[in-house]
């Protein structure tokens, strides 16, 4: 009935998945770095990241637009209105959330598992491997939460993605467009699908958390 649904769902899912992976590449080392800092410094930094969780998505969209528009400093890359720029924007958007979630995990891991590994004669490499093994469940949880935030955001996808049919149209931009057009049937289907995806992920997070405990 609505052939566009499958296309939008697949694109939304893959864009947010890549955004989460991209955010992980810098969020993990940053979280470890912050966790290993002195108390006062890390409190200020993590406080800032906590505050940035609520940063308006449209403002991130606006900043990226200014940077990547043709007259902007990175305009020559030609990324505006591409899926890649949505990936970058979503990755930036979820970074404060992921760092805030992973920071506590790494503080505990560094104070407990790092010391434990060394106390048992592990090399630094073995100690890092142990930490990665022990926190992997928590990192997956943080990633899933980050993913739900990314897939449900509108501001970045709309402002720098441009909502181009078959190219940058994702769940949220498609819903907004369909409502504007008065096509509530498709909007409801897309909304319900997005809700099911987010709900499934949140339930998975709960299950993983229970297993970790």
């Amino acid at each position: 009935m609505y052939p566009e649904v499958y296309d939008v769902a697949l694109r939304s899912f893959s864009i947010s998945l890549f955004a989460t992976i991209l955010a992980l590449t810098w969020s993990i080392p940053l979280s470890i770095k912050i966790a290993s800092m002195k108390h006062k410094v890390r409190d200020v930094i993590i406080g800032t990241f906590n505050a940035l969780i609520g940063f308006p998505t449209v403002l991130i969209g606006l900043l990226l637009y200014l940077i990547f528009s043709r007259s902007g400093p990175l305009g020559f890359l030609g990324l505006l209105y591409t899926p890649q720029i949505i990936i970058i924007g979503q990755a930036i958007l979820i970074t404060p959330l992921m760092i805030s979630l992973m920071y506590e995990v790494f503080v505990k891991a560094l104070s407990e598992y790092w010391e434990l590994a060394l106390s048992l004669g592990a090399t630094k490499g073995q100690a890092y491997r142990l930490i990665v093994r022990e926190v992997s469940g928590d990192v997956v949880v943080a990633s899933l939460i980050g993913f739900t935030r990314a897939i449900g955001e509108l501001g970045v996808a709309l402002m720098v993605g441009g909502n181009i049919k078959g190219y940058t149209r994702v769940f949220t931009t498609a819903i907004a467009l369909e409502v504007e057009k008065g096509e509530f049937g498709l909007a409801i289907i897309l909304g319900a699908l997005l809700f099911i995806i987010v709900l499934s992920i949140i339930l998975s997070v709960r299950m993983i958390k229970r297993r970790i405990k």
Binding site: H39, E112, Y113, E115, L116, A117, L118, S119, L120, G121, A122, T123, Q126, L130, R133, E134, G137, I212, K213
Partner: protein, 226 residues
């Protein structure tokens, strides 16, 4: 032998939790006693070369540990084992936890498992060997952490409140196992005067980060506690 010479340690800026510590730990069991916050745990961690002192030197068998190259440090590090007061266990089975310290030393899985079964028998924890650590009581967790240390037969063993969570019947086994390691350097931090009397003759009393007394266990326990 582990020697601490003019050692000072602080976690935050100039607030020292260890002040001018001069002590040598030689073969046998030494107990460190003192009130809460006196620096017992920190002293153990500095002496076991987990924490680098802010000032002063730590010698292991006459070699200044913190001046060693990384590869040398690892060699020394592997002869020293520290067991935390609150047992920290890895995810998974008890067997994997105890075997971990052997596996990182390149021991084969088969050999490691064999040794795990022996130490488990010695500490009477064979019945939990295949259990997930999530299913253990705090006392069982402490025994697993002890087994993981004892299996290495280390030259230097540092134990922070090793019997804190153990039932009386279990304590005897652990004390016997430790007493059997007379040719090793064992340092125990504890509040427990009964453990002190049962296990050691040498006691170091700490107060506000300073060593206030080194002496015979009966004498010190009588003077400070009984």
């Amino acid at each position: 032998m582990i020697e601490l010479r003019d050692v000072w340690f602080s976690y935050i800026d100039d607030i020292y939790v260890l002040k001018d510590i001069n002590i040598t730990f030689s073969k046998g069991i030494t107990v460190i006693m003192g009130p809460n916050g006196s620096g017992k745990t920190t002293l153990l961690k500095v002496a076991s070369c987990l924490y680098k002192p802010v000032k002063g030197k730590v010698f292991v068998n006459g070699v200044e540990y913190w001046n060693l190259k990384y590869q040398e440090m690892i060699k020394y590090r592997r002869r020293i084992v520290y067991v935390h007061e609150k047992p920290i266990l890895l995810r998974g089975k008890v067997l994997d936890n105890i075997a971990y310290s052997l596996l990182i030393r390149g021991c084969s899985k088969v050999e490691a498992e064999e040794k795990v079964h022996k130490i488990a028998e010695k500490l009477d924890i064979s019945y939990i060997i295949d259990k997930d650590v999530k299913e253990l009581s705090i006392g069982e967790k402490q025994l697993v952490a002890l087994a993981r240390a004892l299996i290495l037969n280390p030259d230097y063993l540092f134990l922070d409140e090793p019997l804190a969570h153990l039932h009386l019947s279990r304590r005897k086994r652990v004390i016997e196992a430790l007493k059997a390691m007379k040719d090793k350097v064992i340092i125990i931090a504890t509040h427990d005067p009964f453990l002190t009397l049962a296990i050691s003759t040498k006691v170091v009393m700490l107060d506000e980060g300073r060593i206030v007394r080194v002496g015979e266990s009966r004498e010190i326990v009588k003077e400070y506690i009984l």
